[in-house]
């Protein structure tokens, strides 16, 4: 306990105060303890005390099954409970849960934050918890007031009956002794006071005064900090290491070999880093020694000319593609690093019978299992303290738990309480990239100018192959995440003769989901091709899409709203041009209109992006807007700059000077509009990314007549008369 308090000097203590000081009686449902992950007997309700604690000081503490990495669930999930609870919002705070089956994702069955699913997957569970707690508080109040529960109402953290009232804090102890309700009635949406209202983030204060605790900030007395020297080539093995000079560096305490390389443990990061630089290491070249980006691209191109695994098929695309009016195009996107602002890190305290981990992770259950495997402990002996994540974008959800398992290996080999820290160079060069993809498309236009036949071949590594998700996600040679956005495109579905084929070459490069996964490239390629076709057919790009999407009302709603709000078709400032794009991902529909100018020298400026999203109900419209802004900036980084390349097996980029990301002066004005929609709720965190690239490159075409078929955009290719 003493170590926790030590580390809790700052944010942790403040946030953990409800648990720590013994001041607070948790609001618990007695049955729930015995039932573990289950709710009330014979019910499908969740166990409220896993998700909610109400203190005698009226504090309402919401426990989050998901991790906050910027996307705003620290606020959105509490909104759901607070709504049904009729809580006083000013008393609501949040914390991350530990790892336990009670916190498994309601759809995926294990604890994970990803796929832009948090809000819609928790919409029922978190509201039910709030409603259950409210019912118990009302019962407790009714007993106290000697009235019937029906005579009580709730408002802002109070139960009121006539002239009697009691706060939730006053009632918490009595309510905790009552049996959990077997069923609850949720509010009619017309009575919502919090859901659907723009709500400010609950984590802003600690993020503007330096007290928010990220994994990087974890500290214990006696803890050592380690950096790991890893092979410059993926999968390369250590041949030999001479650690004499490293151990002579002041502050360096220990050097240990781990499966991924050589770890230098020191009193602090700087000493560890100096120590690492002093290591004399020989690596074998590893299986990716010959890796070369230019050559790989040629290999991809050759593959694209051969038959791949069919991902979607209708009619006879081969026969239909014999006509004269054909569009044939090759598109290419490179590998990309996630580069979250907080470099990867993980702190491990490994004991005989337990292992404690502090880190920012998106996938606790998998981490727990991987650590169990390494340590020989049972999963329940492994606890994970999820800190704030300094950005995730998918990088902190690795099926191999790479940065966590490595830290556990360092703790195991050294016998020390240790924090393993990655440098930015380690992050950029450490793999787990968005796969490079090459698309080859051949489209026949019908007499009406609309696509009549379409053949589309994709070449790129599968992110699922070789992981424990392969069985679920790869069917008949098709990794669904490689082709999503093409094989299930609304355009493709309407074309009588079409064929989508996939090649998934193995290259040895570790690849991973990257914010919006397959849609990060398929959105670009499909919406570029549609734009190419519109121009070939001499039709307005918005009108062209309207016709093709006439039976897809949610695409249309987003498209129309973005077109209207951007002033599509209306005069723009001299030299400014519009490009449009609309794409469905993660069950939401987003259209974006980019306004750009391109100087004769090829200097591109993105002035404005107008975005419209139909995500169904926007639980926190302010959060949805923030996520659209975020996705647009993230995507624009990739459009203008993002590229990981290989030369002689090694990654060429190292840090933000040669893997640049968007800066403030490059950031357009972003305007987001939310479609008023009662359709099925979708995601937000990733959905702003996919349409952006094509909106920009389509605008570049409008400005210059130059079609960008490869990212990132290169200035020398945009020079025009």
């Amino acid at each position: 306990m003493s170590t926790e308090q030590r580390m809790g000097r700052r944010g942790f203590l403040k946030r953990g105060g409800l648990l720590g000081g013994g001041l607070v009686l948790g609001f618990t449902v007695p049955m729930a303890k015995r039932l573990g992950a289950q709710g009330a007997p014979d019910s499908k309700l969740p166990a409220p005390n896993a998700f909610l604690r109400i203190g005698p000081d009226d504090s309402v503490r919401v426990i989050l099954a998901h991790a906050e990495m910027g996307q705003g669930i620290w606020t959105t999930l509490p909104m759901l409970i607070a709504e049904e609870l009729d809580a006083d919002w000013s008393k609501v705070s949040a914390e991350h849960s530990g790892v336990a089956p009670a916190y498994n994702h309601t759809a995926f069955g294990f604890q994970i934050t990803g796929g832009s699913t948090t809000t819609h997957s928790e919409f029922d569970r978190y509201r039910q918890v709030g409603a259950m707690a409210r019912e118990l508080l009302v019962k407790a109040a009714a007993a106290k007031f000697a009235v019937k529960p029906e005579e009580c109402r709730t408002e802002k953290g109070m139960v009121i009956a006539g002239d009697k009232k009691a706060s939730y804090g006053e009632l918490a102890e009595a309510a905790a002794k009552l049996p959990a309700p077997e069923k609850v009635t949720l509010k009619d949406p017309k009575d919502w006071k919090i859901i659907g209202k723009a709500t400010k983030r609950l984590d802003s204060t600690e993020k503007v005064n330096g007290t928010a605790q990220f994994g990087m900030d974890v500290h214990f007395d006696g803890m050592l900090t380690a950096v790991v020297a890893r092979s410059p080539g993926f999968g390369g093995k250590l041949r030999s290491v001479d650690d004499k000079a490293a151990l002579a560096v002041s502050g360096v305490r220990q050097v240990v070999k781990v499966p991924s390389g050589v770890a230098v443990l020191a009193d602090h990061y700087w000493a560890a880093k100096q120590g690492r630089e002093a290591l004399k290491i020989e690596w074998d070249e590893g299986p990716t020694a010959g890796l070369d980006s230019a050559k790989q691209r040629e290999d991809f191109r050759k593959l694209a000319a051969t038959a791949g695994a069919p991902a979607a098929k209708a009619g006879d695309a081969g026969k239909a593609l014999q006509g004269d009016d054909l569009l044939e195009a090759e598109y290419y996107v490179p590998y990309l690093a996630h580069a979250p602002m907080e470099p990867l890190n993980c702190t491990v305290k490994l004991g005989e019978n337990k292992c404690e981990i502090w880190t920012g992770t998106q996938m606790q259950t998998v981490d727990q299992q991987v650590v169990a495997h390494i340590t020989g402990l049972k999963p329940e002996q492994i606890s994970i303290h999820t800190t704030f994540l300094g950005g995730g974008f998918g990088r902190r959800a690795t099926p191999t738990s790479d940065f966590i398992s490595e830290a556990v290996q360092v703790a195991k080999a050294s016998g020390k309480l240790v924090k393993v820290v990655w440098s930015r160079e380690d992050d950029i060069r450490g793999g787990y990239y968005r796969s490079a993809f090459l698309h080859h498309a051949k489209v026949a236009l019908g007499k009406d100018g609309y696509p009549a036949a379409w053949k589309h071949v994709l070449v790129g590594q599968s992110i699922m192959a070789g992981t424990m998700m392969e069985a679920m996600m790869v069917k008949d040679g098709i990794d669904a995440t490689s082709v999503e956005g093409v094989s299930d495109s609304p355009y493709m579905k309407e074309i009588p003769d079409h064929l989508v084929e996939l090649h998934s070459p193995k290259t040895g490069v570790p690849v991973l989901w990257w914010r919006s996964v397959g849609h990060s490239h398929t959105g670009f390629v499909m919406e570029s091709l549609i734009d190419e076709l519109a121009h070939k057919a001499k039709k307005d790009p918005v009108e062209y899409r309207r016709e093709l999407l006439k039976d897809h009302p949610r695409h249309l709603a987003a498209l129309n709203l973005a077109a209207e709000k951007s002033g599509w078709g209306k005069p723009l400032p001299a030299g400014h041009f519009h490009g449009v794009s609309v794409h469905e991902s993660f069950a939401s529909f987003v259209a974006e209109v980019a306004e750009v100018s391109v100087s004769k020298e090829g200097i591109l400026k993105v002035h404005k992006v107008t975005c419209a999203i139909d995500c169904g109900l926007a639980v926190n419209p302010e959060g949805v807007k923030a996520q659209m802004e975020s996705g647009i900036v993230f995507a624009l980084s990739a459009v203008l700059h993002g590229e990981i390349t290989f030369d002689k097996g090694a990654v060429k980029q190292r840090n933000f000077h040669d893997y640049p990301v968007l800066r403030m002066h490059e950031t357009p004005l972003i305007e987001t509009h939310i479609v008023q929609s009662s359709a099925k709720m979708g995601g937000a965190g990733e959905c702003g990314v996919p349409p952006l690239a094509a909106a920009v490159t389509n605008a570049i075409f409008a400005a210059t007549g130059k079609r960008v078929r490869e990212l990132p955009v290169r200035t020398d290719q945009l020079k025009h008369a």
């Binding site: 910027g70 996307q71 983030r201 993020k207 900090t225 907080e342 930015r424 933000f656």
Partner: protein, 155 residues
């Protein structure tokens, strides 16, 4: 031993004079509000003030801070009352939050020199601070708002 003035308090630290100020702040003084992002002055997450000037502490040897006032995010205000902190909360700026200490410390120096900056001046002053969550637009708004608050005499 090196003597440092950090947030108006004196600290004695046992560090090599070449150690970057960032690691002295974070690993020796446990002032972890100042963040490590790149280690080569590319991202601005480590921005602190040395006698009121914004510096990237990841490339500033601790020896350079001797005899100067070091201010970190923890020392910007005692009660989150700095106009930038107030504006940041009002504009709902942070997302993951990791870069925001550095953003605010850079903005504080900007506002000292230019109490009412234009968008262009904000862009110029803030382009050294990266944010992967893309909060730039809200940062711009918040800086304008803080400027407004300061003008009105509000603290």
């Amino acid at each position: 031993m090196i003597t440092l003035q950090v947030n108006r308090k004196e600290h004695a630290v046992d560090a090599d004079p070449a150690t970057p100020l960032l690691w002295v702040l974070r690993d020796l003084l446990h002032l972890t509000g100042t963040k490590f992002g790149c280690g080569m002055a590319q991202c601005g997450a480590c921005t602190v003030h040395l006698d009121g000037e914004a510096v990237r502490s990841c490339v500033t040897p601790v020896s350079r801070a001797v005899g100067k006032q070091v201010t970190t995010i923890e020392g910007l205000s005692d009660d989150n009352s700095h106009p930038l902190q107030v504006a940041w909360i009002q504009e709902d700026v942070p997302q993951c939050g990791y870069c925001q200490s550095g953003q605010i410390m850079s903005a504080a120096v900007l506002l000292k020199g230019k109490p009412d900056p234009s968008d262009e001046e904000i862009d110029a002053a803030m382009s050294g601070n990266l944010c992967r969550c893309g909060t730039y637009q809200r940062i711009r708004c918040a800086i304008h708002k803080a400027a407004e608050m300061s003008k009105g005499g509000a603290k």
